[in-house]
Structure formats: C-alpha cells, structure tokens
Symmetry: C2
Subunit: 331 residues, 2 copies
C-alpha cells in the first residue's frame, strides 16, 4: 500500500496523518493569543503546517506502538513541538558569531526581544498542555529533559571557541541540543500509552541514540554538505568557531603547528579566505570526517538495538528504517 | 519582641528567618551546574544571599498561616524565586530602548545570549523543583502563572510606544509583569499547606492585588522617585517610551496639541531635553500622579479585603501591614 520510493519520515507522516492533523490543530489553538497578536506572527514561519514534525511524530509513533487512544498523546506531541520551537527561537538570539562579523542590524535586535518572549510563551503553553495530561511521571521526564536542554545550551556557550573541548563534552552538548528532546518525545509516548518501565526505557534509549546520530550528521553536513540541497553554506560552523565532532577529531591529533592553526582560527577567530580549505584538508588528513560518520553509524546501531527490545510491530520496523535514514539524509 | 521601627518586609524576614535560610540553601544547590560553570557566574548578582526574597517570603508566609511543615513549601519558595530571576534575565535582553539610543556594546550582546540561556536553565530548574512537590494542582497554578507572565511580556512589547494603550491593557501587562507571580506565590503556599479552596482563592486575590499595587508604585517611582533613594533616574520610562499608568491617565484627557506632544515623544521617539518637564507638567495638569496613587491605594484595600476572608493570625496582620507598606515604599 505504501509507496516504496518515499522516505521513512514520509511513511511515518502518512501512517500518522490523521493524528498529525489533530496535533496541528492543537498547536494552532494553543499558539493563539488574544492579548498578544505578535505571537503567531513570530512563530508562523517556525510552526507552519508544512513543517516536518519529526519530534511529535516520534511521540505519536511510540504511543501508537502500545495502542494509545484518547488525546493525551496528541497533547504531548504538541508539547514536544512547542518546546522545540521555543528552543529554536531562543537559539536565534544574537550570538557571538554575529557579533564577531559586525554589529547586528536594528531589525535583528527587535527580533531578539520577540524571540525570547515568544519562546517563553511557547514554553509556558507546553507546560500547560503537559499538566493537562495529568501524569507526574511524564512531567518528571519533561522537566528533566528541559534541564538537560538548558544545561547543554549553556555548556555550548562556554565550550565554543575552546579547542580543548573533548568528545565527551561534545556529547553533552549534543544531548542538550538535540537528543534530550528526541528521547523525551519517545519516552513520553510510551508512558502515556501505558507501556512498561522496560519498554519506556528502551524508547528513551532509541530516542537518545537517534538524536545523537541526527545531530552528528547535521554537523557533518556543515563540513561536506551540498549547498544546493541543504541550503546551508559549508564551513559555517568553522567560521562561527563552533567545535563539532569532525573538528574535535582533527584537533586531538594535531601537530604543534596544526594546533597553532586551530588556535588562531577557532580560539582567536582570526580567519582568512584560505583557512576553510586548510581546515578541511586537516580533517581529511586525520580521516576526521570518515571517523565522525562511523560514530553516527554506531549510534544508529545503538538506536536499533534499543528497538529490538520492544514488541515487534509495523511501527517498530518503520522506526528502525528511520534510524538508517538519518545516515543518508542530505538536508 | 519585634522592633517596631523595622518595616513589614523586614519583620517577615525575621519571622521566616530559618525557613529563608533553607530556601537559600535549595537555591544555591539547584542553581549549581557541574557542566556549565557560567551559570552561577551570571546569576550570582541576581540571586545573592542579601536579596529581598519578597516572592518566596509570600509563599512561606501563606504556608505558615496554615501550619505547613516538611520541605515542600521551601521548594516552592525556591521555585518562585527561580522563576522571578529567570524573568529578570530575559527582561535584560536588549530591547527597543537600548536600540534607539545607539548600538549596543559587544559585551551587552554576549550577555544577551547568556541571559536567555541561563534564564532557561533557571526555568527548567524551577520546573524540576515543582514536579518534586508532586501536586498536579500546584503544577496547574504555576503553569497558568507562567502563561500569564509570558503573555504579559509579549503584550508589553506590542503596546509600548502605542499611545492608544488603555488602562485595561496596562492592567494585563502589570498582571503579567508582576501580579501573576505574586498571586501564584501566595496561592501555592496555601495549597501546599492543605488550605481549603476558599482560603487558596483568597490568598490568590491577596497576591494579585498586592502585585498590582506594587507595580503601580514602581511605575510612580519612575516619575516622582528620588534618585538618591531609588538608584533609578526619574523619567526613564518616558525616555524608553514605556506607557505606564500616570502617562495613560494624562494622555486619555489630552487636548489635540497635547496629543501631538505624546505622539512625537512616545510614538515617534523624537525627544529633546525639555520634553520630560513637559510630560511631568501634563501629568500634573490632569492629576495623573495623584490618581495613579489612588489606584494603588484601591488595590491595597482589595488586598486587605482578601486577607480578611482568611483565619485570624499574627501572619495575617503582618501581610496586611505589608500591603500598606507597599504604598509608602521609596525604593
């Protein structure tokens, strides 16, 4: 029945189509504010009906595996999307990279204040939604995920531009940036469907590993992606002095003079037009890109191992395909 | 036993001294982050042991009225202080006023990102604390307060610089800025102590009215305060084009030419050195300051009426004195 040519995320979206429509309805209703019409204005481009909705789909898929009915899983899927959007808005706030490149524009500053406050609004809406579901266990999961996200974001602030950053620290940042919300999304899906603690733990592990693989690939696309497909310039992380895994893997093997290169370009931010090519050749010299891809593959295997602990189902197969797909995605 | 010369907030702090010490301990412990040492760095000046702790004192006082024991009310007091601090951090983000006066400094921008992310961290910590208390009713109160706060902040963004802003809208902003957290603080204090719904409602009303009076007086201090005492320049709100109650009361009675003055100075932000004096004389012409003070007095009466519904106690007398004190505070 399903077209074999379409990607696993599109397959998921088809299977969950009706539920996603309900989630979109909740999102639209809860995003609206009589008092503050600016809110949908700011979020419209972030929460558009055409969005991929990957995180809410994870919640729905997990709930679906355990035969969830009612509308609590729909509320939790909307919760997860609100948290994601709020995080994106807060990430938009002018950071070091923009500062370094020159003073921000006036418009950017106005957006700063809006980004912060509308982000807070979405957080508070997500908070109301999850309280409505009425499960302290689920609230506990989401509170801990929020703390991991926030801590990871602050950690990223303090480690960017520090070439001593190691892979362990990078992993903490990645958990905060991406994996914590993926794992909370899958775990609460199981929880709200009444899955056992073991199954909920496996769902957590799946989301965690999937999120880490997803972020590693995201970072890889920045060093080897195709502008036409990703819409992102290659080398942005380098220019913004963000240390991601391929950089860390190159830096940890550096000779003394190579270390000087990284100090100048990443720590001091003193870069010229040839530096990106040098950075790329150093990453190639140490197979940093290949090794980073292997790391992502390892996390995908871990995600699939976690799935194998769960009862067999069509949804389990799809989630396994989704994990493989993360490795091949090009945008 | 208590020195009659000290203010009601100081009396409260004395009576609640031991509990406040425990709250400070929770705050210190929960603020710390192994992963992100920047956090205490950013919050140290906001959450100093010498802080006034007005909001957590309201929670403790309300809990105390109903004989609360254990440590859940201490956790909720810390929760309330974390939310307050997070809000302050997010308010710090560069806004329109700074933009208008000239480009922000580099340092200010770095602080922007830190303010946002450390604020998020404190929110997430407060969320964890309140979940630990394990009451869905309390979570519901705090979720709704969060939404009111966030909505009020966004509303403030959209109404500042709009001279058509009326008192009803101003009140919504004030509820978001100040009263929502005051009323949540008192209400959860009663709730955690097992007070009846009627008593919790009265505590909510008290906190709400107290918060509104507090904010109106804050706005008044900006137009008639003493720099030596408040540490704030008079007329900052005018220069930052923030419409508070005394301005609204003057503007709503304006002649056509006066309206032109407000349009130029507040809407267009085209101000010269004499404009503040003109603004002040227009406020005096319409008794806007006197009428604003009367409004604050009305809210204090409302706060005391709410208290009168609660069982008699020493704490009730103190909370009543605190309401009166709000009117006389000079900083």
């Amino acid at each position: 029945m399903l077209d074999k040519e379409i990607n696993p995320d599109e397959k998921l979206a088809k299977i969950l189509e009706l539920e996603l429509l309900s989630v979109n309805k909740i999102i639209r209703e809860r995003m609206a504010s009589k008092n503050a019409p600016r809110i949908p204005e700011v979020t419209a481009h972030l929460i558009s009906a055409g969005g991929k909705r990957l995180r809410p789909m994870l919640t729905l898929a997990a709930a679906n595996m355990f035969g969830c009915t009612g509308d609590n899983h729909l509320k939790l899927a909307a919760t997860v999307e609100f948290i994601h959007t709020a995080t994106l808005l807060h990430d938009d706030v002018v950071d070091e990279s923009l500062k370094r490149r020159g003073r921000p524009t006036a418009n950017l500053l106005w957006d700063n204040k809006s980004s912060v406050l509308v982000g807070d609004y979405l957080f508070s809406r997500s908070f109301q939604l999850m309280v409505e579901v009425g499960s302290l266990k689920i609230l506990d999961i989401l509170a801990n995920a929020s703390a991991t996200i926030a801590e990871g974001e602050v950690l990223q602030l303090t480690v960017s531009q520090n070439i001593k950053t190691d892979e362990e620290t990078y992993l903490k940042v990645v958990r905060g940036k991406t994996a914590a919300l993926f794992s909370a999304a899958t775990q609460v899906g199981g929880q709200v469907a009444g899955a056992s603690e073991e199954d909920c733990d496996a769902l957590y592990e799946y989301g965690d590993a999937l999120g880490i693989a997803f972020q590693i690939i995201d970072d890889l696309l920045d060093v080897e992606g195709n502008l036409q497909i990703t819409g992102k310039n290659i080398g942005d992380d380098f220019r913004e002095r963000k240390l991601t895994m391929p950089f860390i893997k190159a830096i940890q093997n550096s000779t003394k003079s190579e270390l000087e290169f990284w100090k100048r370009t990443i720590e001091k931010g003193n870069q010229n037009d040839q530096d990106w090519d040098t950075a790329l050749s150093l990453m190639n010299k140490y197979q940093a890109i290949t090794k980073t891809r292997q790391e992502a593959e390892m996390w995908v295997e871990q995600a699939k191992r976690a799935l194998s602990k769960l009862p067999e189902s069509e949804m389990r197969i799809l989630l396994s395909e989704l994990a493989d797909y993360v490795l091949t995605r090009s945008k």
